[in-house]
Symmetry: C2
Subunit: 283 residues, 2 copies
Amino acid sequence: MEKRTADLWVTEYQTGNMRLGLRLKEILCNKQTPYQHLLVVDTFEYGKVMLLDGAIQITEKDEFTYHEMMAHVLMCSHPNPQRVLVVGGGDGGTVREVVKHPSLEKVFLVDIDEEVINASRKYFPSVSSELDNEKVEIKPMDAIKFIKKMRDYFDVVIVDSTDPVDFAAGLFKSDFYMDVFNALRDNGMMIAQTESPFAEADIVKGAYDEMSKVFPIVKLCWGAMPTYPTGMWTYTVGSKGPDPSKPLRDVPVETRYYSRSIHEASFVLPRFVRELLSEEEGK
Amino acid sequence: MEKRTADLWVTEYQTGNMRLGLRLKEILCNKQTPYQHLLVVDTFEYGKVMLLDGAIQITEKDEFTYHEMMAHVLMCSHPNPQRVLVVGGGDGGTVREVVKHPSLEKVFLVDIDEEVINASRKYFPSVSSELDNEKVEIKPMDAIKFIKKMRDYFDVVIVDSTDPVDFAAGLFKSDFYMDVFNALRDNGMMIAQTESPFAEADIVKGAYDEMSKVFPIVKLCWGAMPTYPTGMWTYTVGSKGPDPSKPLRDVPVETRYYSRSIHEASFVLPRFVRELLSEEEGK
């Protein structure tokens, strides 16, 4: 008789009509936090994977593409990024990339859910590796409340949020972008993850339009991100002045996805994305 | 009692450890051809989808990104593309893009499986729309045999194959690339779909190395392709002379993904892909 093994899978419902399955080695953490369901699994294809409310947040194998884009696009195009805020991003991957820049004086990590931070420290040491860096200050609280109290303080704000549902929905609205605007110094810039133009065209368009109500310069860039729905991911930048599509320097430490030329290429949009952004509202 | 509906899904095993599921409206065609299993389904997320031996080939929603890259990168960088060969590609999507170029005199579509062509005509009219164009000659036969008889004939060869297993495996080997080289005229160029650097790094590297044994110039470009594994897809070009990364003209008919600037950006490789290609064999 042939040897049989159990067939374990985790399934992410990326939309109601599309799902990604990954074969499991093991479930490492499976719990409800005060804010969301937190699952950490070990998989054959992507190594360890963290899911929040059923949505993949990071995998060991591909997190570098997302975190490098989130951090370096602005850290390389702002004239002198000293003070940085990361909204969400409790896994620490974006912070790990931000601290590679010598101009940095201080980065706040404001994630509403401390248990995400703790899980990343425990299960993703290569992602959370810089959380104890002396330039990092962790604030486990609602970023929407945190940012309202800050004025003319930050150079760069990075919105490394979950999908725009539940408590994260407010992070895709112009009220929040206005608070970010006010928290930024002159030349300040923000970047937000803004989903896939194939799976969630409305969110891409909505974030772009909401940010355009507040910032004089708004630009979209994109990159590969295999475990996010459709693998084509957008990042939307609002700027008070600097052109985010023009890198001013290289990352001084080695990167695996990002480079100065990838930075420039990421702002070249396929025609269907350009058309999505230029569509008249209410059309 | 709540109304219940059936819950139908088609599942593609992208690797042994990763699968993509799409919710079904209906199965339209489900048969074994002399060469492979052919499935056409209608889905909620991607419209109609064709699978061969369980692998997604085209979907109505995202086929444009793949077919535009396959056709226009060479049709726009070859000095004067008059005679074109499409290997595989029985759905007709690549041919539809190739005939947009006025320099074209003749395009041969050589697909081993005539039933793929017939299914595309029946279920994918927007993809097969140019199969009856007077410049198109369809040859339902093994392209490996076809190309051995051709000398100094083609300007552009496009290898729009299935994954390198079974009868398509030979399409990723230097013997075949040598036959393509011989079938090309001066300034001739070939392009092949060469899988994902995340899911199939060995295939990306292997095709690049095999092509490098034959062509003096070999370059890789990439683009988004949501329903192919990881969504990041590579295309490898072998050239007898022209630089494939330099577009010489625009596509005279509207495109949705490709543009001259996307062409240039697609040759900018993330560092991990560059490193993959430069790795010493046997290291």
